[in-house]
């Protein structure tokens, strides 16, 4: 064989091999979530949602013909550990970073992902997360700046409360929510009868509930993480507090209902995502999740599932797997459930990474979420 022909054959072989490797290699994702510690409910649901979506997508041939592959790391619900785990995850150059779920952990990890130019799809809801100029951070649920005005409006218009006791968890998530809702209450002229800060992981709420009783508010607004929400609901029942109990997402989540039992009945709140939503695709998701994991997921399970379908829809829109271009393409994108059923409900992402989607007002009745009102997508 002449040298020129031999070189051509070798070059063709190398190029074909490289192209094959490029098209066939799995798309690597990295998830850092609260798999233990106080946020274990959040992280476990989020992880399970991710795994379910990846399993579905891979069973149908993957994204642009490539399978998805995810590594899971435990932040232990600790921002310091989360930062170390995210740094480790970014070192492996993932296509997209998933998580964490706690706002405090998102806050300390977002600069790392932005510096690496990797999009971060997370579960945090603190308002401040998307107020900066980070172009790589995306929500999977409403931020507090979107949800709290709806809650305040409900307390004013429907509950007609003139005074409200606020119980919040003293972390980035709780403080952010407390600050936004306090401003909204001031706008409506609603008096804050008691402003109670509690600690993450707090087990005993007897003193806090005694203070609520002493303040005798028209309603109680509770903004805690899941386990603490369940504990305070039990204590409120134990001390016979009869004022309406209102919350945002966590208070009326599935895990809280499971943990609090009867004490959760009557709790009301705004939720962006619920498996009890009157939406056929959400019902189908719930069935698939229950079949795989044998329990009903809370909103964090839906968030994890949606994160993967956000990646699928954006990548297919780009027509290529390009980590650097991913964030630009997700900004301003509207994903319609008719085109991508895995996204469950139509959703639009703005230039800040915030979302616009329909929401729900729910009440817990006999241990189940009952949708009282559907709040439509704004645009």
């Amino acid at each position: 064989m002449k040298p020129a022909i031999l070189a051509s054959v070798l070059l063709a072989t190398v190029l074909t091999g490289a192209a094959f490797a490029q098209s066939g290699a799995p798309i690597k994702l990295a998830n850092v979530a609260e798999l233990s510690g106080g946020g274990a409910t959040v992280g476990t649901n989020w992880k399970n949602g991710i795994d379910l979506a990846i399993e579905e997508i891979n069973a149908k041939g993957g994204v642009l013909g490539r399978k998805l592959e995810v590594t899971h790391a435990d932040s232990q619900s600790n921002p310091g550990v989360a930062r170390a785990q995210v740094q480790k995850a970014l070192d492996s150059e993932p296509y997209v970073l998933l998580g964490p779920g706690y706002s405090g952990s998102v806050k300390v990890t977002a600069p790392l992902a932005a510096e690496a130019g990797i999009a971060q799809i997370m579960g945090g809801e603190a308002a401040e997360l998307t107020r900066g100029d980070n172009k790589f951070l995306f929500r999977t649920s409403f931020g507090q700046q979107s949800s709290m005005p709806k809650v305040a409006k409900y307390i004013n218009d429907d509950i007609k409360a003139k005074s409200v006791a606020i119980v919040w968890v003293n972390n980035d998530f709780g403080k952010g929510g407390r600050d936004v809702i306090t401003g909204e209450f001031a706008r409506y002229g609603i008096k804050v009868a008691a402003d109670l800060s509690t600690e993450a992981g707090q087990a005993d709420f007897a003193a806090d509930v005694s203070k609520i009783k002493a303040a005798a508010p028209d309603a109680v607004f509770i903004y805690l993480n899941e386990e603490e929400s369940a504990r305070i609901l039990k204590e409120l029942k134990r001390q016979s507090v009869t004022a309406p109990l209102i919350g945002e997402t966590t208070l009326v989540g599935q895990k809280v209902v499971e943990l609090a039992g009867d004490a959760a009945n009557g709790a009301r709140g705004h939720v962006g995502l619920t498996t009890d939503a009157p939406v056929e695709l959400v019902k189908a998701f719930r069935e698939k999740f229950v079949k795989k994991y044998n329990y009903v997921p809370d909103h964090n399970g839906i968030k994890g599932y949606l994160a993967i379908y956000m990646i699928k829809a954006t990548t297919e829109k780009m027509g290529k797997v390009d980590a650097k271009a991913f964030a630009d393409n997700l900004h301003g994108l509207t994903i319609k459930a008719a085109n991508e059923p895995g996204i469950l409900m139509d959703v639009t992402f703005d230039q800040k990474g915030d979302i616009d989607r329909q929401g729900f007002l729910v009440e817990i009745v006999e241990g189940k979420q009952v949708i009282k009102q559907v709040l439509p997508k704004l645009n």
């Binding site: 798999l35 233990s36 510690g37 274990a40 409910t41 476990t44 003293n170 109670l196 800060s197 509690t198 600690e199 992981g201 707090q202 087990a203 005993d204 007897a206 003193a207 806090d208 005694s210 203070k211 009783k213 002493a214 386990e227 369940a230 504990r231 039990k234 204590e235 029942k237 134990r238 001390q239 016979s240 895990k255 499971e258 943990l259 609090a260 039992g261 009867d262």
Partner: protein, 291 residues
């Protein structure tokens, strides 16, 4: 005033549970010089044993029985024979460190075999209120308080009014003399470990419906009970009872009138004050051991 009553009652109910756990601390110290830093995890574990039995299909009351038997076996007999006996001959400090390792082991095992998530736990006391002088009082708080007091009074009566109780006291005060006069010291020490196992099961059944079953829930309880035992007097059962009740009340009042953020510091400040001004504890006696 009604707010203060609520706080006192809630504090007494929680404090009574701390007292039960603290009594276990003092019993083990008195009879075998064991400082059990896994005592909080000992309270956490029985709830999961009960839940495991319930998942296997046992009704709640039967699951409690299974949980109790397994706890007596693991946390009483097993703890003494497999950890305390081999380690004690090397001194108190190595044993204390070994119990710290045990605490981590129990916690991680529960996380591994059950879940890192919290689980609901049925209450042995019915929900609802009763009216006391026109004031609604939680039946659960009263029930927890009553059961805890019953356990402590029963234990005190057992120790002070029965022959076995007297033998246990003799074994604790002076094992050498007790042996000479025919007290089966080893058997008395084993009995103490079994009593401690019974107490932690009781505490577990009372506290878990409120705190939820979680692998990490023993951390707070263990610390509170340890402080209670020192504040009350590490060498007196009645000291542990007073210490437990006091810590429960102080913790609740601190959360209400000081701040939630600093509530955890207040019992520790109390501990420092006691150590500085009355090192033997409120009811403890200097250089004496009795149960």
């Amino acid at each position: 005033m009604s707010n203060l009553l609520d706080l006192l009652l809630a504090g007494l109910a929680t404090g009574a549970i701390y007292a039960i756990v603290a009594v276990g601390f003092t019993l083990l110290w008195q009879t075998s010089q064991t400082i059990n830093f896994a005592q909080g995890e000992f309270v956490m574990l029985p709830a999961f044993l009960v839940l495991a039995a319930m998942h296997a299909g046992a009704p709640f009351w039967f699951a409690i029985l299974i949980g109790m038997l397994l706890s007596l076996l693991l946390l009483g007999l097993g703890f003494k024979m497999l950890l305390v006996d081999p380690m004690l001959r090397h001194g108190v400090l190595p044993l204390a460190i070994a119990t710290m390792a045990l605490a981590i082991g129990i916690k991680e095992a529960v996380k591994q075999f059950f879940s890192a998530e919290a689980s609901p736990f049925p209450s042995v006391v019915p929900a609802g209120d009763i009216q006391v002088f026109g004031h609604a009082v939680s039946l659960q708080s009263l029930g927890v308080l009553a059961l805890a007091i019953l356990a402590v009074v029963g234990l005190t009566a057992f120790l002070n009014r029965t022959s076995i109780g007297h033998q246990m006291q003799a074994a604790a005060q002076n094992p050498t003399v007790a042996r000479i006069i025919g007290v089966p010291v080893e058997r008395m020490i084993l009995l103490t470990f079994l009593i401690n196992a019974f107490l932690v099961v009781l505490a577990s059944l009372l506290i878990t419906p409120i705190y939820l079953a979680k692998f990490s829930s023993g951390e707070v309880l263990g610390q509170a009970a340890f402080i209670a035992a020192i504040v009350g007097g590490f060498n007196q059962v009645r000291g542990a009872i007073v210490g437990g009740l006091l810590i429960g009340i102080v913790d609740n009042l601190a959360a209400a009138y000081v701040s939630t953020q600093y509530r955890a510091a207040v019992p520790l400040i109390l501990l420092i004050v006691i150590v500085l001004f009355r090192p033997q504890g409120i009811l403890g006696r200097a250089e004496e051991r009795t149960i």
